[in-house]
Symmetry: C2
Subunit: 336 residues, 2 copies
DNA sequence: GGGTCGTATTAAAACGATTCAAATCGAGAC
DNA sequence: GTCTCGATTTGAATCGTTTTAATACGACCC
């Protein structure tokens, strides 16, 4: 007897396998006395339920799959923590995959989730996966989109309002006396970048005397921030910006570094505002002002929506929740 | 017919279910012609194999489970990437759990892995899990420890030599003229901290005129670095250090920030060396000198060992691999 | 004492794939 | 034309659990 099974437990407790199963899954149907006897048998034999068999018969896998865009970005690990916190309370395992923005990795995880017949999937899509998601849904797996609304709004989603973020960051810079604001980030095609940028432009226009200079980058990391700064400092002095609005904190950290190394004083000469408010923003040499995204809350909200839909798919209405960012002011944008 | 099954595929291709199974799992046993016919049927029907059933009958789950200590620490996400890269090539799904150094989370994931009858588990243990791991092993799940050797050396492991790391960092500081070196990190009970610290002391002793001042912290984050600095700067000027060796980069970033805000010049007044060489180290306002740990390599090595053991458990000898760190010199420790 | 009803228990079927031993097929040898 | 052998294919059993419908058991009432 290498590994104890239900029938072994049943034999030991002097009951039938069906009763053991009931004890495990519907304890109220079993009398307290037998329940205790079964529990004792389980402990003595060290019985661990075979989940594959359970899943096959029950037709449902309690696990939730999640595909994150970039596990190296603290923003997404925050989101994941929010999801984890909700699911742990629900006794549902979370299976996390990292797409690294690569379509084949994303497809790999979708295959896995499909084969495992997951109850639900949370995804920040990177490739064109609408068809895959529809297939999942048709197979009975609920889907909630995180931080990305698709044009087709057929799936519920939770996202954070980028326009508001772009606006409050810009207004803050304008109110503290800055006028020429460089927006660094890209590629311009990314929805997040486009939304933040156009909101920044609108805010500058509304203000009257503000101006946005867009410096496009091909990625959103520290390196992009550094090259962005190089390009800005090549401008004739009269055209140099007095503030930088970085599309995320990684870029902002790169900007801060490049400016520091070149002897430009932050915030005296140039102010910086980042985006995401990752932990490293407040720990930078000059603590960064940043647009805080409620990442953890986005994760927990998405997980809650998903669990609700699974619990009662019939009552499921597609919902789109948009959370609001807020500005956290720190040293890097203090008025000079 | 809600979802296609093997028998549907078989019917469509005009073969028996057994042949379909063979086509999927032992393609060499099936003639090319039928193989093509079956593949066509699969595509037409959109068949996706039910993994629960497969696993139940085959008695094995191809997936590998991994429990990381702290997903918010870039060091561990690097390790995870190394693991992922190997497993993806092996067509094995990776199921990642984050213990956040909390025993109950760790236990939760171990439960999951045990119920799922995983082929293998990679773990950086936080609690006292030896018994659990033994049980897993007895149930047929192979185990490899990552970055933590237990006293009981019964499980294979991959780790990185902390003594070497502590030594090379200290020697570098001494060689560039520093004499009073503050070591910041903790709690002192952590094996990593203890090993790095004692190696630093040994190096100082060997050099003759060096001195290590240990400042213990209760965690390893930026906040700890800041409070560490506060304590050091309270010392009378004659006792102030001229260098800081931080137990990891998060602490080092906190140190850099606190020094900058207080007007202490880095590296002129105080040099800094960190540990881990996370991406943020090179992106700091003053790029950080750091002890680079081959995190990615550790992950890929561990995954390779695990896959080998699973492939041939009989030939499995317990092995302990120790990788060497190297020093990456940057601005923060440039000689003044 | 017979009948009714609710609770606790159980026997047997079912979930959907893989495996094993046995059957079938075809080509080449004689 | 028959026989042999290796390559393909297949029927039936099986993996370990949950579920369903039926049974057993008392307690309570008349």
């Amino acid at each position: 007897m290498p590994v104890a099974q239900v029938r072994d437990v049943a034999a030991r407790a002097g009951v039938s396998p069906a009763t053991v199963s009931n004890a495990l899954n519907h304890p109220t149907k079993v009398s307290p006395a037998t329940l205790a006897r079964i529990q004792a048998a389980i402990d003595e034999l060290g019985y661990i339920r075979n989940d594959a068999a359970r899943q096959l018969r029950a037709g449902t896998n309690r696990a939730i799959g999640m595909i994150v865009l970039d596990i190296a970005n603290p923003f997404f690990t925050d989101v994941a923590r929010g999801v984890e916190d909700v699911l742990l309370g629900q006794q549902r395992p979370l299976i996390m995959g990292n797409s690294s923005q690569e379509e084949h990795r994303e497809a790999n995880y979708l295959d896995l989730f499909e084969q495992q017949r997951m109850d639900g999937v949370l995804i920040t899509p990177t490739g064109d996966v609408l068809d895959r998601l529809r297939r999942l849904r048709d197979r009975g797996t609920s889907v909630v989109l995180v931080d990305r609304m698709t044009r087709a709004t057929e799936f519920s989603s939770v996202s954070i309002d980028d326009a508001t973020g772009g606006r409050i960051a810009t207004e803050h810079l304008l109110e503290t006396g800055r006028r020429r604001i460089a927006f660094i980030g890209g590629p311009a095609g990314l929805a997040q970048v486009a939304n933040r940028l156009s909101a920044a432009r609108a805010a500058a226009e509304a203000h009257g005397s503000g101006e946005i200079i867009y410096t496009e980058t091909d990625a959103m990391n520290a390196e992009a921030g550094r090259t962005g700064v190089d390009r800005l400092l090549d401008l004739p002095p009269s055209q140099r910006p007095d503030a930088v609005f970085a599309a995320n904190d990684l870029v902002a950290l790169g900007v801060l570094q490049a400016l520091t190394l070149r002897g430009v004083r932050v915030p005296d000469d140039i102010a910086i505002v980042g985006y995401d408010d990752i932990d490293f923003a407040s720990s930078a040499a000059i603590p960064l002002t940043s647009v805080r995204q409620p990442a953890h809350q986005m994760g927990s909200t998405a997980a809650t929506m998903l669990v609700d839909v699974i619990a009662d798919p019939a009552a499921s209405t597609v919902r789109h929740i948009t959370l609001m960012p807020e500005l956290v002011v720190r040293r890097s944008s203090q008025s000079s």
